[in-house]
């Protein structure tokens, strides 16, 4: 078995030995339901699709992904197990990838458990299931970006609380970056090109199309690249801590 999958399996198991994983799953499902049905006008819209459901995903991830990723490195640094892990024959990359995959698969499980909503919409009408599938995939990719941010920032500190706050802050900034209010705020101070770049960084902007079921290659590339970028940053951070 490769070190990546050994680390991944250990991490996944560690989620489930504490009640945390179950609490996370329940909160995720309850919040997803409430937000979809109450604030998303699921019924009133009179359309058989899951757009109101997918639109709330960035906000769900904002709270719940940092809760999953905060312990990733911070706990190991504090408990001394980091020394144990990093003196085993594996590269920092393998360790990072194993941990990332575990958290990402866990979010994937949470996402899969929202299937009753999918059943509901199929019962009520005849939605385009291809669109729904694409949106699920897009949402999971976006979750990957959030997890990668959390993985990187958890490597920065020994404190899980600090890791949570940092991750949530960066995530909310990235979600909101493309909102008109934010862009208007900066439009006086920054040149047009930077404003456009800022808008391009926005998670929401890339996810909106996905929530409607449109899988644009550029949006997918955005999530894949930002995931990779944050993971690279995380590995560099760990390497820096080894040298410093």
């Amino acid at each position: 078995m490769s070190p990546v999958s050994a680390v991944m399996r250990r991490e996944l198991r560690s989620f489930f030995v504490t009640p945390m994983a179950y609490v996370f799953l329940v909160i995720f499902l309850v919040l997803a339901g409430i937000l979809t049905f109450y604030t998303g006008d699921f019924y009133e819209r009179g359309q058989a699709d899951l757009q109101p459901f997918f639109v709330v995903h960035p906000w769900l991830y904002l709270i719940l992904v940092p809760a999953i990723t905060m312990r990733m490195w911070a706990e190991e640094a504090k408990g001394g197990t980091l020394e144990l892990l990093l003196s085993l024959p594996l590269t920092l990359w393998q360790a990072m990838l194993g941990k990332f995959l575990a958290a990402w698969l866990f979010i994937g499980l949470a996402l899969a458990l929202t299937f009753p909503i999918w059943l509901t919409v199929n019962y009520l009408g005849a939605p385009d299931n291809g669109v729904i599938f694409a949106s699920y995939l897009g949402s999971w990719l976006m979750a990957g970006s959030f997890v990668a941010i959390g993985a990187c920032l958890s490597a920065l500190t020994r404190s899980q609380v600090v890791a949570f706050v940092l991750t949530a802050t960066v995530c909310v900034l990235l979600i909101l970056a493309g909102q008109p209010q934010v862009l208007d705020f900066f439009s006086g101070a920054l040149p047009r090109k930077l404003i456009n770049a800022l808008a391009y960084l926005s998670m929401l902007r890339h996810f909106e199309a996905i929530a409607r079921g449109v899988l644009d290659l550029r949006d997918l590339a955005y999530f894949v690249l930002s995931t990779a970028g944050w993971l690279v940053a995380g590995v560099l951070l760990l390497e820096l801590k080894r040298v410093r």
Binding site: M1, A6, R10, L84, S87, P89
Partner: protein, 313 residues
């Protein structure tokens, strides 16, 4: 084999390990001895690949820890300070995880698992969460982790710290049994451990190597080396007469129990003359002892001389 060449680690202004060159060969148990904060753990962390050296190199079985980190780590079993392990796992889960990380084959993994669990007497706690184990058991789990892949080189950071005398004895026996064809580096600040385990000692303080010798050589540096001590309760042993012996340098009497220690002049052997004198005088001596030298005294002398030098510099 473990070799370091001018291994150095700086944290900002502080030099935790300062140009440390040590060498441990197969069959050898090398003790890294030093006061707390001497840089023992930092040196070990660099050899284990957890920290990168600021300068200098370390090699494990010839593999440079910077250039061939994975090969070096494969050859090494390492017990970090405090024996950290994943508390939420059971002992079995933890060891299986280590076996996977070490890429042991199923057959080899099972065989080593049984052997190691047997040696360290972990059978009864295999399915207990590590968090709930006593300190001694957790230390044994840490040792099990370090030796699971049967490494040619073993590095143990304070392996008996916090154990009771029986557990210490068990761990020392284990290290002794493994020492034959392996290279073992242990760090400790316990002098008794040096006697019990090591066939060579490196004394470190403030990150610098201060002595590299066998325990016997170190003892020979003690002023107690070759001294004779005895208790002669109720008899007025004449210190004057002892002092008149040509081989004797000085005499000390312990104010608490009245034990008399006679120090020899350099190179002189005084056990026989002292015994003879006592016999001639017809003095009752309950027991008489030839001192090997006191490691704690040598240790203090070596490490505090360094402190004084550092303070005046």
């Amino acid at each position: 084999m473990i070799e370091t060449e001018r291994l150095t680690r700086r944290y900002g202004q502080l030099t935790a390990v300062d140009a440390l060159s040590i060498r441990a060969e197969p069959g050898q148990v090398l003790g890294l001895l030093g006061p707390n904060g001497a840089g023992k753990s930092t040196a070990m962390r660099m050899i284990a690949g957890f920290l990168a050296p600021s300068s200098g190199t370390a090699r494990v079985c010839g593999h440079d820890v910077q250039r061939a980190p994975l090969a070096a780590r494969r050859a090494l079993g390492y017990l970090p300070e405090g024996a950290p392990s994943y508390g939420e796992m059971t002992v079995r889960e933890f060891l299986v995880f280590i076996a996977r990380m070490r890429k042991l084959t199923a057959e080899m993994g099972r065989r080593r698992f049984d052997e190691v669990v047997g040696w360290l007497q972990l059978e009864d706690v295999l399915d207990t969460g590590i968090d709930t184990l006593s300190k001694g058991l957790r230390r044994r789990v840490g040792l099990a982790q370090a030796i699971l892949h049967d490494p040619p080189v073993l590095m143990l950071d304070e392996p008996t710290d916090g154990l009771d005398p029986n557990q210490k004895h068990t761990v020392r026996q284990l290290i002794d049994a493994m020492a034959r064809e392996r290279t073992i580096l242990i760090s400790t600040h316990l002098l008794e451990e040096v006697h019990a385990l090591c066939n060579r000692v490196v004394i470190v303080a403030r990150g610098r190597l201060l002595a590299d010798a066998t325990p016997a050589e170190l003892e020979a540096r003690s002023r107690y080396h070759g001294a004779v001590s005895f208790s002669a309760p109720g008899s007025g042993v004449s210190q004057e007469m002892l002092g008149r012996l040509p081989q004797v340098a000085s005499i000390e009497v312990d104010p608490l129990d009245g034990r008399i220690t006679v120090f020899p002049k350099p190179g002189a052997r005084i056990l026989e003359p002292v015994e003879q004198l006592l016999r001639e005088q017809g003095l009752e001596v309950s027991e008489i002892q030839l001192e090997r030298g006191r490691l704690d005294e040598v240790f203090r002398q070596i490490t505090t001389a360094q402190d004084a030098a550092g303070a005046s510099a």
